[in-house]
Amino acid sequence: MENQTKRYWKGLEELRNDETFVKNASSEFGNLEKPESTPNNSIVDGLGDLGDRRDFLKVLGFGMAAVSLAACDAPVKNSLPYVNKPTDTFPTIADWYASTYSEGGDYASIMVKTREGRPIKIEGNNQSSINKGGTSARAQASLLGLYDVEKLKGPKKGEADADWDAVDKEIVAQLAAVAARGGAISIVSSTIISPSTKAVIADFTAKYPTTKHITYDANSVWGLIKANADSFGKAVVPSYDFSKAEVIVGLSCDFLATWVSSAESVRQYAQTRKLSSAKGGKRTMSRHYQFETVMSMTGSNADYRVAVKPSQEGAVAVALYNKLTGGRAASLGEQADKMLTKAAADLKAANGASLVVSGSNDPNVQTIVNAINATLGAYGKTINLNAPVYYRQGNDMAMNAFIDEAKAGKVGAVLFYEANPVYDHPRGAELKEALTKTALSISFADRADETASLCKYITPAPHFLECWGDAEPKAGHYSLIQPTISPIYKTRQAQSSLLKWAGASSDYYAYVRNFWKSNMGTGNFEQFWVKCLHDGVYEPAAGISESGASYLGNTAGAISAIGAAKSSALEVVLYEKVGMGTGAMANNPWLQEFPEPITKACWDNYASMSQKTAKDNDLSQGDVIKVEVGGKSVEVPVLIQPGQANETIALAIGYGREKAGKSGNGVGVNVYPMASLKSGYLSFNAGTGTMAKTGEKRDIAQTQTHETVMGRKAVVQEGRLANYKKNTMEGRFLPKIHTSEGLKSPGDITLWNGYQKPNHSWGMVIDLNSCNGCGACVVSCQAENNVQVVGRQEVVNRREMHWIRIDRYYSTDVDDKVEEMGLIDGPRALEIASENPDVVFQPLMCQHCTNAPCETVCPVLATTHSSEGLNQMAYNRCIGTRYCANNCPFKVRRFNWFKYFDNDNFDYHFNNDLGKMVINPDVTVRSRGVIEKCSMCVQRIQEGKLTAKKDRRRPVDGEIITACAQSCPTEAIAFGDMNDPESRISQLLAEEKEGRAFTMLEEINVKPVVSYLVKIRNKDVEKKATEAHAAEAHGGH
């Protein structure tokens, strides 16, 4: 280019050497004049001339930088002390108050833990002789109802908000008008076990003499009460003492979960099932026969269980009666006949130490049952008519009569107290219509539910934790309800409202106090009252004498009324689920996500049926079918339930709420309308039905889908009582590993060094014999550890968060043939759920392995071992690789796929300020992207240790206890310090070392600190022996 002579130019400007060209020559884009900016071309309002894209980005970038820099400054937090601190309350130190939980026949005397004035946990009251420290899942979950933001915030007149003064004035005027013209005033309630509330109603009746009090229960036992009235002249439900029964026969009776006084029965029953491998220890247990349609929680615990159709309910009772009295019993099928004969023989041999109970609401069936118990001499031994229980007093006839009157327009005024009959009564639809004809209708419901929304007035009552009150669950056993928080909304107790309308003082606290003063008070009332409030219970009749009763029932009449079993092709039966109950607490996400003990399903009801019925009708799990009974139909998905009677469909009540709230509305379908009224008695045997496939599919949210242990004896170990009596190691599986030096036990060959535990060594022993699968521990853990609810879809995605789950395994007689079948066929054979499997419940939480596989794979040391034997989880260190969860042999680690709190996609109370008041302040609320798992309630361990240190002493055994162990109604879970030789857990382990204690997956030598005690069944061994013999002869090895 040196000899360049040509000149190249890009344009005339360059050639001319224009001034503008020279000025801009070196800049690539040129500094061209910007066009006048118009207000419209600014992307950001108010940016004016900056409105070009780059400037916008600059501003945005600067803005973000500025915001994030500013955010580096911690926000100012305020500390608000009391203005006038109460003397005995200290912030951050929990206060406990005794109170009472009572809901739909479920009762528990409870202790309420409050922090900074808000209740955060419910535990059982040890002083109560009824539940003795145990609770149910529902009692545990009832706490969350307190913080339900969808409750009414004040009284309502129709749709409009009203104020109390105006509402009171109008109601009083209208009541007076109704009373003046002699119109009927009806108070419709579910069972009231509060004696003072009954007195309030009596006072109200005195003021308005036309008042009638109608009691009904969604799950009624009026038939039992009626039968007792006929048989013994006492219209009561007697108290049953399962602890004294050596032989128990249940006839469609879920007495451990949903029948009357389950709070008491569950503990008594477990007592009879406990065993000890210690020298001279208890080697006897009760034998339990169960004849039922649906596989109930109670049935799953039975030693012998027979599936019978609902139509055979009465026939089974009659057959058992005949076998006992030597009469001719009609055949009910080979299996049933065999078991009835066996049961009859055992019952006779027990010599009065037996108990036959039926869940039927048919007075004829109950009369036969009474006759059986009278024949066996159970009255005065296991049944006490002198100490009746009051959990359910509902009168089906009275309710029917009320609905008839309402339909006829004869009811002048109606008041609904803890009752929602439009939803939970079979004639709800009729009542709905009739309510429009009623001049004055008032509901005390806490929300505008199905019934309340039809009422003229809603005068909402607060949650029981905001209330005063009392209860008499059993004759001579009283307990008090005291508020643990001042009313959150402008609500008023129903009792106060009734008193006010009756023209008395609305101070119900004073009323209860006076009631107790005049009815129970002894000596210095002030002292007595304070003691009762403190203890929560007053039991003057704890040791009430039992006496026999002479049976006067018309057995023959009952037998002929029952007649021969008329079995039909397809029978539909309704049942109550352990968690959801009657559906009154449907808006409780904890209960909705509580897996039903048997099906492990949540967030739904479904048509459960046996494998055979499904196969015969060409149905598989998840197929939506239309079930029709008596002109009423529902569409529900199919769930295959091993153990259910063939040709039956079972539907759970308590679902399909329409006006419960966000969590409860539209979950499942309402099957109450299908319940029948047989000669006035409510019956859950809906009768003959039909089903049709709709062609749709619906996933059922189940937390467990593997039904068997797949033959792995290292997971669940079980044995039979007769063998156990001879050998305490019965059912134990002792794995051996092949080494070059021969067979060795896994613990002898290890890569691990173990840990020094100089101070404490926390551990747990879970008795599989005592655990009945009720799931109180699951909800208790959820409340204690801020475990989040994830909702139906996430459960379907297998992302539930429960820290403790109860694995339910089915096993069958095929089990005996596993070895014979070989490794390949064995597990496959087991997957076929049999007709009537045995069930094992195994509570499973983090096993806190000493050689923890999760710890070795965590890349950031977020999970480590403590010197007290705990597998610790540091959430803030976790980066969410989930390696630990993958490497956990027990699958107990849970991953936070989402941020479940403050997230409107998870609308389960934790996204609003009120709902979040339930959070335990001592436990971190985990956020998205971290793993969590059982911590063995380390917050309680730390608190307990600190208490001991402050007192300059060692912790006492029992002082530190995990939430699951504390709430367990059967004391199946023992928690404690294995370094303390005096502790219950140390003694248990010492006793059961050469007995039932085993750890899971022993062959992989992870050394869990949680031990299980082998499940022992009280089954005969003859059959097994002959089988084994046959197998031996057959296999020849």
């Binding site: 580096c72 305020n78 002390p81 912030p91 130190i93 100089p758 480590t864 610790q872 600190l946």
Partner: protein, 407 residues
């Protein structure tokens, strides 16, 4: 300024000396220890009694020794209810006169304590000049604390100037000397001055690639470290001293009046939180003291409106960390100052410690467990002794484990 300050402090020292002598003189004249008495009185009695003749809740104590004898007083202080119940006419009259308000019993007090208090009361009333002392005394620590720090700065600056001067002189000497050297041996030299050679040397040095690379890296590393340090500092509020809604002075209450921390922070031995005192604790004293102060008026306003005072939280731990005061103060025997700094000298409370995990861990590593008289640790101590001669540190009993603080 410097001299002025010095003058001021010397004056204060002299003044204090005089006052001190005055004290000493009085002390000698008394039976009890008036200083101890003052502490006892201010901590326990002052909320109801005035040492003069003013009636607060109970009677003023001026001339108490003339009214009652020592034996009666000791009996009364130990168990006032008992004395009233015994039917002592004077006690009953007293009880009735003061609105049947019962005096708190001090069963642990003996003759010694009562005498000390009486000595203080005596002193209070005989030497009214002393009453003025607290004001002067308040100024004193301020003077002495600010004095040394200012002085230190001045000294540093002076030292720096001196060093710079020395450097200049040295440079001049070197230059002169080198000139002298080049002057004598000028024929061999290149003719460059020392400064030129220095400059030349420095230039070659600076143009060396290795040096350049090293310095670039040095700066990059320094910058990275500074950034990282800065990032680590995010969320650390060491030195945070927000303005509080009521300008409460710990210096006055804890420092000058020596009110025990526990008196207001009632939770410190019981539970997680030490408790910000409720207004009723303030009212114990301020029901009668300094009622007219606008700051105290704010408490009255809060009480009347039944609205808590919204204090600004100074020490903020993140929610993921669990800290319990009782564990540290009650069980561990840790003094408040160890974490909170010299609160008694703070006009406005400031966060003195970083409150980072490193800071916690560091202390857990160094601190011996307070095992004395605590049966909880007996077994641990004996176990520890079998393995090592080192003392038992918090870290040895799991003080570094995650779930001790994170759950």
């Amino acid at each position: 300024m410097k001299s002025l300050n010095f003058l001021k402090s010397s004056f204060i020292i002299r003044f204090t000396l005089c006052v001190g002598l005055l004290y000493a003189g009085q002390l000698a004249a008394q039976d009890g220890d008036a200083a101890n008495g003052e502490t006892l009185f201010k901590n326990n009695c002052a909320s109801c009694h005035n040492p003069g003749d003013q009636v607060v809740v109970g009677p003023g104590l001026k001339g108490i020794q003339q009214r009652r004898d020592l034996a009666w007083l000791v009996k009364w202080v130990k168990n006032p209810n008992g004395v009233i119940a015994s039917g002592d006419q004077y006690a009953v009259d007293l009880y009735n006169k003061y609105g049947k308000a019962q005096m708190t019993a001090f069963p642990s007090y003996g003759e010694k304590e009562v005498k000390d208090i009486l000595a203080y009361v005596e002193k209070y009333n005989t030497a009214p000049a002393v009453v003025a002392v607290p004001g002067g005394g308040a100024a004193q620590p301020a003077g002495t604390t600010s004095g040394p720090s200012d002085l230190f700065t001045y000294l540093l600056v002076a030292l720096l100037i001196v060093m710079l001067l020395v450097l200049g002189v040295l440079m001049t000497i070197v230059s002169v000397l080198s000139k002298a050297v080049t002057g004598t041996e000028g024929t061999q030299a290149t003719g460059e001055t020392f400064m030129e050679r220095l400059r030349g040397g420095l230039t070659t040095f600076a143009q060396n690639k290795a040096v350049r690379t090293a310095s670039v890296w040095f700066f990059i590393l320094m910058a990275t470290k500074a950034t990282l340090d800065g990032m680590y500092g995010i969320g650390i509020q060491q030195g945070y001293a927000p303005k509080q809604p009521i300008s409460f002075s710990h210096k006055l209450h804890a420092g000058q009046y020596k009110i025990d921390c526990n008196y207001c922070h009632t939770g410190v031995n019981r539970g997680k939180s030490a408790h910000i005192p409720s207004a009723n604790i303030c009212m114990n004293c301020h029901g009668v003291i300094k009622k007219e102060s606008p700051e105290i008026q704010k408490i009255y306003a809060a009480v009347e409106a039944n609205k808590p005072v919204e204090w600004v939280r100074v020490h903020n731990l993140p929610d993921l960390a669990y800290f319990n005061h009782a564990q540290h103060v009650n069980v561990g025997g840790v003094q408040c100052v160890q974490c909170h700094g010299e609160i008694e000298k703070m006009e406005v409370v400031q966060q003195r410690s970083s409150l980072t995990m490193g800071w916690c861990i560091d202390c857990h590593r160094k601190t011996e467990v307070n095992t004395k008289g605590n049966d909880y640790y007996t077994k641990l101590v004996s176990l520890h002794k079998t393995t090592t001669k080192e003392s038992l540190k918090v870290a040895d009993i799991g003080g570094l484990e995650c779930s001790k603080c994170h759950y």
